[in-house]
Amino acid sequence: MSFEGLPAKATGKKMTFLESIYLVEIVRGLGVTISHLVKNIFATEAMPTMQYPEEKRVYSDRFRGRHHLMQREDGTPRCVACQMCSTYCPADCITIEGAEHPDPSIEKYPASFEIDLLRCVFCGLCEEACPCDAIRLDTGIYEIAADDRAKFVVDKEFLLHNKSDGTR
């Protein structure tokens, strides 16, 4: 679709009589739409529509998909429950409860970490706010569906293993 040739802004030009009775313009409009129709019938392949479940659009690496919590080497979350993300979150969708970690070198860890995906607006500010690089929206998952509201509230275990390779 090209916008070339269109005026950059409304010109405020007076309509001619022919234009003002509208009929000719309607016919011209019909011509425009039918030309699209005809063109597309004979060039189905050229249409930009993707056959979604079979074909998938390749998104940029920066695409913000479903969140995931980064793990330390031992599989525990990197998150230290500082609640920067929940503080910063414009949708107020992150709920964290901190607790004492048995390992004194970690000190604080999230006893629970929940994200309400229905509230989330995928703005990525939680990533920005995180001082530990613990939360990322890098799974690339955009197919988020469930048959129950409660299932959209995902917990720490889910987020820890929420990978784009489909292993949850």
């Binding site: 309607i26 019909l30 739409t33 597309n40 249409m47």
Partner: protein
């Protein structure tokens, strides 16, 4: 007794025609909209993995709507609420009674006029039933007891009143020209030629009347650009907001029935109905054999071309998807080949040697096809316009109805009357 059978047969035919067109129109609406907007449109519903370009969708829709839960508002007016969709549907279909879909057909020596009820005041009947059409909408809107549905009903009423007048004025011009209120007369009158070459169609003798009429019909059918009763952007879904399941389906179907009726009225009043231009009935009957042969040959050629195209595509895309859809081009090719084979089989019956009785039958069927073809075109026009024009604002709608179309309709009537008086 035979006359009852006759009428029943005609009613059934009309019903099948209209109801048969509804799913096709829905399909055309969706696919047409999609192609106009550079999309592919619905193509998911499939039978055994074969998708048939979305043709299965209307079936799936019907199944879905039939089996869906019928959610009803607590505060509805029960009787009205239940009646409304049926009213809409019934009224939409009933105006068809007076529209001739052919001249006549002779079966078993009986010359049967191809119209359900050849009323003397057919045109008035049309106007009357059309204005009843709004009742379904108003009832539904009011009975659901919801602000949005109510607004939709109100809008429908106001809109109907505004455009009914223009519609009537436009038709009055036509009645003056053909000097009859009987629709069969009007259609028959359009078989003539004026100046020896121009078909005496309503659109030719009443061009302004045609414009007013078609605009009014669009408005009466609540189709874009006049679909304010269901203006999504302001009142969610308007009058049918509170309807679901089969009742919603009825409203939905009523809209398409309205479209078919509207298309039939336009064809009957302004495009010669079943008349084929330059081929009046006697000429048709005289050359029936040749015409039929030519048609069959044309069908063989065209369907052959399509079959070849599909075969090539089948060759090319043998394993494009890796599932049942790879069979679709082959099925298409098979269908076209069957059509070609059927036509070729018909040729074997030596259609150029049909007798006078056969010729008359062919002529009748040809005229029915002509009528159906016109109806299909105007039904498509409804769809086409919908995906071309934006919706009016309500004040624009009223302005157009009262301050443009009404004066123009009056002027048209006066001018027509004067011309008729002078001629």
């Amino acid at each position: 007794m035979p006359i009852v059978l006759e009428s029943l047969a005609k009613i059934v035919f009309m019903f099948l025609l209209i109801l048969g067109m509804v799913p096709v129109l829905i399909w055309a609406e969706r696919k047409g909209a999609a192609f106009i907007q550079d999309r592919t449109g619905p193509n998911r519903a499939a039978i055994g993995g074969v998708r048939l370009a979305g043709l299965v969708h209307p079936i799936a829709d019907v199944l879905k709507l039939v089996f869906k839960e019928d959610v009803q508002p607590d505060a509805r007016h029960k009787a009205m609420y239940n009646m409304a969709p049926w009213a809409a549907m019934t009224i939409a279909v009933s105006s068809y009674a007076v529209i001739p879909f052919g001249d006549f057909i002779t079966i078993a020596g009986r010359k049967i006029p191809l119209v359900v009820a050849d009323l003397q005041v057919g045109a008035l009947y049309v106007l009357a039933v059309a204005s009843l059409g709004t009742y379904g909408v108003v009832m539904g809107g009011w009975a659901a007891n919801n602000k949005f549905t109510f607004l939709g009903g109100i809008r429908a009423t106001a809109q109907m009143i505004s455009y009914e007048i223009s519609m009537g004025l436009a038709l009055m011009g036509l009645m003056l020209v053909f000097a009859s209120l009987r629709i069969t007369d009007i259609v028959a009158g359009q078989g003539d030629l004026i100046f020896g070459f121009l078909p005496k169609w309503g659109v030719v003798v009443q061009p302004l009347g045609f414009v007013l009429f078609i605009t009014a019909v669009f408005a009466e059918t609540n189709r874009n650009p006049f679909d304010l009763p269901e203006g999504e952007s302001e009142i969610v879904a308007g009058f049918h907001l509170e309807y679901s399941s089969l009742k919603f389906a009825l409203f939905f179907m009523a809209e398409y029935c309205h479209m078919v009726v509207g298309a039939a009225l336009i064809s009957a009043f302004y495009f010669g109905g079943y008349q084929i231009p330059w081929l009046p009935r006697p000429v048709l009957e005289a050359h029936a054999g040749g015409l039929l042969t030519g048609k069959l040959i044309a069908i063989i050629i065209v369907s052959g071309i399509f079959a070849v195209l599909f075969l090539r595509r089948a060759q090319k895309e043998r394993n494009k998807f890796g599932d049942a859809r790879d069979r679709e081009p082959r099925i298409g090719a098979g269908l076209w080949l069957m059509v070609a084979a059927g036509a070729a089989g018909a040729l074997l019956l030596k259609p150029w040697h049909i007798g006078p009785q056969g010729a008359e039958m062919v002529a009748s069927i040809a005229q029915i096809f002509a009528f159906v073809g016109k109806v299909v075109f105007f039904a498509w026009l409804f769809i086409w316009v919908r995906w071309t024009l934006p919706r009016f604002r309500y004040d624009q709608l009223m302005h157009l109805g009262w301050k443009v179309m009404l004066p123009l309709g009056l002027a048209n009537l006066v001018v027509t009357a004067v011309v008729m008086a002078l001629v």
